[in-house]
Symmetry: D2
Subunit: 332 residues, 4 copies
């Protein structure tokens, strides 16, 4: 970590600051510039609060050299992590296809979709029970009842299930859920992340609406710092000024995260684009970019879906995607 | 609401859709274009789920004419709302100055700041007890104990207090808090908003990190739809690619919201810019733009603050801002 | 096009507006809503100036149903365009690999890079002669002399050349250049686009720093409206708040443009990410997403490049990318 | 400037780099960290090309301590610059009100608007002759003829005129224009900036569509490096995901620039918001934030404007704004 001091700081003030750094267990290196004094800090700086440092009136700016995440950092954990969900593995060359409807709507619906996507190549079933919606007047999901239906589909097909949590108080309802999803709008719901950090269950952490990669990895760090190292990252597009697509899918996040972290990263091309016709090309692109899995919305009858908008594929379209994905994976 | 159909849709399909609209209590107007058929919908369309509509395979696009918020909409409530907190009023010409430290750190600190800001013109005291931090290793606030200290400061100075909530399960701790703040990262924590909608207590709803005005008003609508109409909006800057300031303070949101809604809107220039020197000009600009109040970070000893970064004023600087604000308000 | 009128407009005012629309050769359809009157316009609306319409004080909002571009629109030109550059074709299944250094630095450098990239699979040579730099103190390119060196490399290798233009007055210097590139910062330099529209030479139009797809296609329309239909679009990343990568590569623009337009679209993964290690995964992803070509920075000695930053590959790395690209293309 | 090296770099490589730095006239300070070596550079680093430095394979990252602009930098020019246009002054407490129509449409129109805005408090007349439009089918301005009409208005009213240039080849047409405006889309048209740097005439440089403050000051630096120090900056809103306003007016840019630079900065609330009702509050806010001037669109008959959209005031509304502005200025 580098701390740049303002011009004209008294040497006594510098001494005080240096003393404080040394109390934090850091070694200190000082360079005198023409205008500014620069203090280099060596040691474990993850616990130094950058904002605290910036408040000090003799400090001009602070720059981290090493990343502020530790558990998620590839530097301290060079091997790719592998997350196991029953027989399914994600990461380090293991690829998982997660498919299912945006919302669970009925027993008939979820069983039909589950059966079909399994036949066509899905490894896990997704389906929304608790639905975060911008409007209080929009369908809010079947909630607890929806989880029960997902568990029936799991029983019937043997596929593990992934579903989204919206509040820490709902954790007991997720006891038999295989992977708990944290949605984009809750990526920085830190109280929820802390509670999930106490579980021994994989967490699928979606990237926030407009969060950068560093914040995303810091949210993973919240879960891991609590003791739960089973974090799967999921890129789902970020907010920009582009208007044709719902979000801008940031596929460069995939190889970037592979450099920074050992955690597996999957891609959700359905929510990212919001357009069914774009799901296939973006799914293939995600695989080519190195994603460890895909999360794709599939519906038995898209024209009647309760909430998933224009972005769902039907099972036959999903089959086509799954087949092409397998071929791309052979090339990569 | 206008629904544009794709080219070449069979008339039978159109009839089915029209029938469904009519069942929702809407009147329907059809125009045949050269390429597309356009369906105009008249009546209460707030309960129509736009995403649901877009999924239908014969639909090309959907455009709302009227806004999707009802309780927050000025159209249905032309008079400015006034929120009362004890003797303090906000809205419809009533201006409130809220000041205090980023974090509550100790009894001595909060009492000193509270006493000073009251003397210099503050109407309410702010102070963070629960602190949302990007890193799990940064100071997380004094939590319940911090609220106790705020209540002591309230007792001593008579000023109502505002402090942030991070999880619905903490609501009992906020029983004696006068105004509950929802922070930017929780603006779309819908489960929390629903719980706050059940209270009879003013909610200060900060704009999300990268949320637009419509989403912000929809989050206010979540609280209001639950029965709690006491919502104060707070602009605090949005995320852009500008790097000198922490966020980009969107002051045009102030007059824009006054057009769209009857709710009061205040501005937080401290978090928005992240730079103490910018607090005064942006505070004055906010007042000139028509804000109903200001929320300003003030610290007894900025150089030792535990978390507020470079953005706090000292009490004397706050006094200067408060005096200038009063003068600008006379002009406006 | 749909024009929504404000509530309470006098029927005489509506009649005047309708009359004006009819004079523009449009047919008019009127629907009376509960609050608003909606006017549907049928016919060629590309020449209607939306901003002009919005100024009229009885107009609340205007929405285009059909896109404002005509020459670039797939609706009026369903077949994929193929751009021919000597023997090279781009579009409609024809894929082109463009490679070369960021800047032309010397005869030795450009000849060496050209020879190598040709051997390893490039179809065209790129190299910057005129360099747009944020700082006036940074290297501005070899300018005319750089074009001469590119022409020597063309002579030696037989590869057509692509290089960037920065001002219409330089057009004479580009007489023997095969493809003229318009850089991101000039995407809306409309006077330059108009001049390029008068040429009979392919134009490679990069997406602007922060422009959306519609604006990009409108800039293509500027060139095409002048009579030059040979436009190749090039996605190169857009500006967001993500800080690890230089820009955010928007690969969903590739299939989106294929839906909207018949023009070929290629991808530049080097500028988009600014990081050499990300070039390969993003190149493969671009191909999987359906790109008609790639534009990749290759340098003989990246450690000594004059301007291309951390984003260049060496020729051997380029060879590896080209081989993998060929395999992905077989799958697609 | 600080250069952080990658871990494990050989000392010989470091020596080579240090030697190169010293040849550039810089003094070098080396700190050895646990993982990384940090090189501090002291002296005039504005001519160091950061991107060049980043390419070097032993370099991990580069951070500037001092800003890359020199002529525009307040550090080297502590006094506020004052730009004189005839009797009008802008900067260092001198405030200028610029008003006029978006486009020059006819002699009658421009003379009427000019006369009225002068009466109501304008110091300078603006009017678009060359109009940058997204669509080639939209009105492109009266061009040279428009400039002639502006000159007639100048002759009649005595007000200096400001109008936009779109291409360096048009400079001769601007000989009698008092202030040449560079529009947002040309802020990084570096060839144009260089040509304007050779003139002895004030340049009004608008902030780019999505450019940050540093890039904006670097564009001012392009003009100043050529010898023309008469640069007036104009904030006009930046692109975000907010949809109610056309752009997001970044008023914090005003005090931020005052810290960084000695150049005057004015604000254009008309283009920024695109909504007439927002012009007044944002104009007052700009003045409260410390702006050195305002640029406001005024039209004699907004309902018939050829291009300015919903954002123009009529002369009486402008009068009201000008009066309130004067009062706010007394407070500030």
């Amino acid at each position: 970590m580098i701390t740049v001091l303002k011009p004209g700081v008294a040497s006594e003030q510098i001494d005080n600051l240096v003393e404080w750094f040394e109390k934090q267990g850091l070694r200190v290196h000082i360079s005198e510039g023409e205008y500014n004094t620069i203090i280099g800090l060596i040691g474990d700086t993850t616990k130094i609060d950058v904002e605290l440092l910036q408040v000090i009136d003799i400090v001009e700016s602070v720059k981290r050299i090493s990343e502020p995440f530790k558990n998620a950092n590839r530097k301290f954990h060079p091997e790719d992590s592998v997350i196991e969900i029953g027989d399914i593995k994600i990461g380090n060359g293991n690829f998982a296809m997660i498919a299912g409807p945006c919302s669970v709507e009925s027993e008939e619906q979820i069983l039909e979709v589950a059966t079909k996507v399994k036949t066509y190549g899905a490894h896990m079933l997704r389906g929304g029970a608790f639905k975060p919606r911008t409007s209080p007047y929009d369908f809010q999901g079947m909630r607890g009842e929806g989880i029960d239906l997902l568990l029936k589909a799991k029983e019937k097909t043997g596929m593990p299930i992934v579903t989204e949590i919206m509040d820490a108080s709902h954790i007991p309802l997720f006891e038999d859920v295989d992977v708990i999803q944290v949605g984009a709008r809750n990526m920085q719901n830190f109280e929820l992340l802390k509670e999930l950090g106490k579980l021994d269950k994989p967490i699928l952490l979606k990237r926030g609406l407009a969060n950068n990669i560093k914040e995303w990895l810091m949210s993973a760090e919240y879960i891991m710092a609590g003791g739960n190292e089973k974090v799967i990252l999921c890129e789902r597009g970020i907010r920009t000024y582009e208007e044709y697509t719902r979000n801008t899918l940031d596929l460069s996040a995939v190889p970037m995260i592979k450099q920074l972290s050992h955690l597996p990263v999957i891609v959700d091309p359905s929510h990212a684009t919001g357009i069914a016709k774009l799901v296939k090309p973006m799914a293939l692109a995600a695989v080519a970019a190195g994603a460890d899995g895909l999360m794709i919305e599939v519906h038995n009858n898209p024209a009647k879906a309760l909430c998933d908008g224009a972005q769902s594929l039907n099972p036959e379209q999903f089959k086509d995607v799954a087949e092409k994905v397998a071929k791309i994976r052979q090339v990569i």
